[in-house]
Amino acid sequence: MKRRELTAFGFLLVVAIGVALREPRFLTPTSIESVLLWLPLILVAAMGQLCVILTGGIDISVGSILAFAGIGTGMVFRAYPSLPVPIAFLIGLMLGLTLGLVNGSLVAVAKLPPLIVTIGTLATFRGLTFLVSKGDQIDSSMLPDGLTSLAHTGLPVGPITISYLLMIALTVAGATAIFLSLSPAGRAIISWGSNPEAAFLCGVNGGKVHWLVYAISGATAGLAGVMYAAKFGFVNPGTAGQSFELTVIAAVAIGGAKLTGGAGTVLGVGLGCLLLSVINVALSLLGIDANWQILAYGVVILVAIIADRLGHRSSLEAAK
């Protein structure tokens, strides 16, 4: 493991051991399963966000895409209840991909700053979700049982059940790792983020890179939307995915990805997601108010970018 991943792993160990010492219940299968219940949503969306952040961009609109895909999938199943469950993931993926392409075209073709584009689409997609759903919530009665059970059933590993949702998320993470390290497109993404001009001179098409990463981010956020429906059993057009972008960006940041682009690994981000899931469960186990959660995410983002900058400085000094 590289330094970035080791830092995330170190944080994870410290927090996990700290919580376990204060509250032994943390090590029971029930707690571990609730940690694992949180993980798939964050992990899947963080993979897309990682691709975007690797190029030096950012996708603030993921929470609204999650809501749109969750609502859209739910509405399809409300209309056609007999559809097979795997179709849900395909629908969510496609819906997310479509919205991601909107972001991608605004960044790649119109050459607008990603932050402004995705702030704009964060608002626009949320409104679109309301427009499509007419403000109605998707309830568990409209979702097939086969979908909602995916969050709780799976392969038993000792006393713990690895849910099907988690398996899907891990597959997505594995595919992202292979894509980023082995495929030409993946290398192009990383090279664009570390030095756009050099990448351009080496023949990397910046426009295509941007199309690709925002499409991936949209698609993974769409998958997360279906997982949201499976995990919670309902999707509310107003509250689903609110502030989700902060969770996802915090996970990528604490996973050691450079938020200014060019560096970051799937393993590190995976550890970051696990850490946030642990913190989520630990807060409730330790009886700490859930109100502290957003503050914790903000501090995580700030500490990560400052630590990264300081690390960069010291490595420059070491090179002298």
Binding site: I119, G120, W292
Partner: protein, 312 residues
Amino acid sequence: MRFSAILLVIAAALAAIFSPRILDIHYLLDKSTLFTGTGLVALAMTLVIISGNIDLSVGSNVALTGCVAAKLLQAGYPPIAVVLLGLLTGTFLGALNGVMVAGFRLPSFLVTLGTMAAYRGAAQAMVGANSVKVPEGFTGIQRQLLALVPAPVVVFIVMAILTGLLLHRTVFGRWVVSIGTNESASRYAGVPVERTKIVTFALAGLMAGLAALMEISQLEVARFDLAKGMELDAITMAVVGGCAITGGKGTIGGTVSALILVMLMKTAMGVANVKAEYQLTAIGVLLLLAVLVSRLDSHQPAKPGKSPTKAA
């Protein structure tokens, strides 16, 4: 500026046709008090964007400062002390952004994304899901009239004039524009880049503090979700008003006309019973349109090899 002026005329005409009530000057003045907080923040956002930065934390700053001020009032502090402490809190939170952006040379959108969560989170940690009631003596600033104009509007007009003078008539204002145009050239030319950035963010914090005090006075309660999404409105106003999102260009006059545009749009939609979520969409679309138009309008086409991401 041109874009916002055209839109403003169209919006005013449409609003007048579809909801004639909007032509009632008393009704408009009454409604306009609701937008003074956002307007103040948009004034400071104009400076921040012209300097080539962005401040996503303004809405959270308003929430945290509002909660702090309401708590202080409940604890029995005199209003004048609360006003001073509130302005101080807002300025401090803004300056903190500036110190992180300038001191560590970090991108402002990442720093303020972090503080957007941190300040909002701190407000939530402080008051939880409760509403903090604002005591009687501090409420109802919108009912104070100065020559028929509600006091918040007067405060806004004064601050708009002061910010306009600061940006367009002082050396500091030129520094802000020059940093946004070319930071390293400004540094070589002797512009105190770091200090200017910190002061710009501190000003954004000061305006957020002022906005917070006026908001809690009007709403009579402070909650952690106060001013949620205010950054979207403020950024939209600045960009629609002609600020180049990459910095170096923009006017206070443009932002003020965009503020009136957004106010007309929202008030007309409110009169027509358009849901809040659709209003949000309208603002989002307006922002995207404005950046698109300013991109098409700019005389320098983006270089093919240059990453558009670095512009943020």
